[in-house]
Amino acid sequence: MTNFWNLVQNENMKIYLRLRTWIMLGIIVLIPILLTVGLTLVTDDSDGNMWELMGTETIIVFSLITIFTVVISAESVAGEFSAGTIKLLLIRPWSRSSILASKYVALLLFSILQSIVCFAVTWAINALVLGYTSDPGGIIPESSPMEGHSIWAYMGVHYLYEWLQLVMVVSFAFMLSSAFRSSGLAIGLSIFLLFAGGTITGLLTLTDKAWVKYILFANLDLTSYLDGRSPLPNMDMTLGFSLIMLAVYFIIFNAVSWTVFRKRDVAA
């Protein structure tokens, strides 16, 4: 049997040989540059803290990274069905689980690549324009469990939490993509999840029902913990609790994707 990596290489080829992927990466590079340069020009002030601006830009760019990964993931399964290429893909000497796994791995690699590009660009442009400093400025609140750690460690954990949220949204998109074979539906609902999540969490804080903390939205944004807050201020929640909840949802999403994809009859 040939190597599983061959399958991942194929999926990579289908991602990186398309123009749109490079447009996405271009946008990720461009946005922090425009923001930093634009803000500096507008405020005519170049003594801001590079880490503060980097943190703000990261939050903006990460929404984009999530959207881009959702688009690619929706296309990755549903697109093969709508183009009919799924037939030629599934008649190879591979189990369907391996084929789906290779797609999932390629998507995660794509999201990691984008995160690295985002980190590199936001760091470099802000260090260049505002000057490098190891002073975190006001970015780490006093209530943060990371208080006293270096700004590098704080940024690293911030990226990790943002990425975990991305993995959840992408797994959700992947599930819809393989369940409904419709990339539009997968993209739409996942972006809804990404943006409505915050609003819905806000609404949920108004109730004091205990079950609210088990809802996906309430656990999606782990960066609250990084700033020493709870995602639902009136609830007793810990990082460990949220990680467990996310793991449960992660397993459910992927179990659905896998089951549907493995059992599905490929017709027309």
């Binding site: 049997m1 289908k14 290429t85 190879r92």
Partner: protein, 309 residues
């Protein structure tokens, strides 16, 4: 080469809801033969093919390819199959070559040299580095054949392969399939609703209708020709004076005049004998033609010309 069948379908049944799409279908495809799978539209040809390549699950029964069950050992069974299911849909945003590299990575033992070889085989050398979206249907069909044969499968499965091909393309494909069956011992399983085409391409043809196997017939090969030697068939003689010829042959099996020609029923040796008698009687014979029962006649005979329901 072993004579064990390359593909064996055993009591294959597919039910969707209460509808039985394929009903206890059993057949075997032998090594090196071109096996036709004939049936009207909607008779279950594509469904059967989809089950053979693992795109659809069987409700009951099993399919073995090279002795491996599609149900239980799918990767082993699939490694011996090359297929085009319906249209050869390739990745349009990749070049032809990138498409082949993609599928080559999924099959063990296909290197760059083999890819070049199949590109040449299907005659796409000039355009292989163009994006597939610029290809004509015929070129996509060729690329489809290339991806199906590049790992030297024991069984090549083609679903309606001549759809959208021009007559030259059909002829080329036909010659290529026969060559593949003879030279490399590849078995070919080809479905079609076009009878005349199957007649030219296949060694044996299975006829299905509404999901049931109706008949399997040999089109050529030893069995068929032996059959032809002894069986009396309708023969037409083209002669200068039909009336005089009728007189000479008076009393011979069913002799009559049809469409200005002399028609009679005769076996192979009798044809030569009849000709000798005509010539000896001074009648000029311009042509002798045996009316073979075409597959179309056979098909209509076994299906009773029923419509699809």
């Amino acid at each position: 080469m072993s004579q064990a069948p390359v593909a064996r379908l055993q009591e294959v049944t597919k039910r969707i809801g209460s509808r039985t799409i394929i009903d206890r279908l059993s057949l075997e495809v032998n090594p090196g033969e071109v096996f036709g799978f004939l049936g009207p539209n909607g008779s279950g040809k594509t469904t059967t093919i989809r089950m053979m390549v693992g795109l659809m699950a069987m409700t009951s029964g099993d399919i073995e390819i090279g002795g491996h069950s599609v149900r239980k050992e799918y990767p082993l069974a699939a490694s011996q199959v090359g297929a085009i299911v319906e249209n050869p849909e390739m990745y349009k945003y990749l070049t032809g070559y990138q498409n082949l590299v993609h599928f080559a990575r999924m099959n063990p033992g296909v290197d760059r040299k083999r890819i070049d070889e199949v590109v040449e085989l299907v005659g796409l050398e000039g355009r292989i580095h163009d994006k597939v979206k610029k290809y004509s249907l015929g070129m996509r069909q060729r690329l489809g054949v290339a991806q199906a044969v590049m790992h030297r499968p024991k069984l090549l499965i083609l679903d309606e392969p001549t759809n959208g091909l021009d007559p030259a393309g059909i002829r080329e494909l036909r010659d290529y399939l026969r060559q593949l069956a003879q030279a490399e011992g590849t078995s070919v399983f080809v479905s079609s609703h076009l009878l005349s085409e199957m007649e030219l391409m296949c060694d044996r043809v299975a006829i299905i209708q509404t999901g049931k196997l109706i008949d399997i017939r040999s089109i050529r090969g030893a069995a068929a020709s032996e059959h032809q030697q002894t069986e009396a068939r309708e023969v037409l003689f083209e002669v200068d004076h039909t009336d005089a010829a009728l007189g000479v042959l008076q009393g011979q099996g069913g002799v009559r005049i049809a469409d200005g020609q002399l028609a009679l029923t005769a076996a192979r040796e009798e044809i030569a004998e009849t000709n000798r008698r005509l010539v000896q009687a001074g009648i000029r014979v311009y042509g002798i033609r045996t009316k073979t029962k075409s597959l179309e006649d056979q098909f209509l005979e076994v299906t009773g010309g029923e419509s699809v329901d």
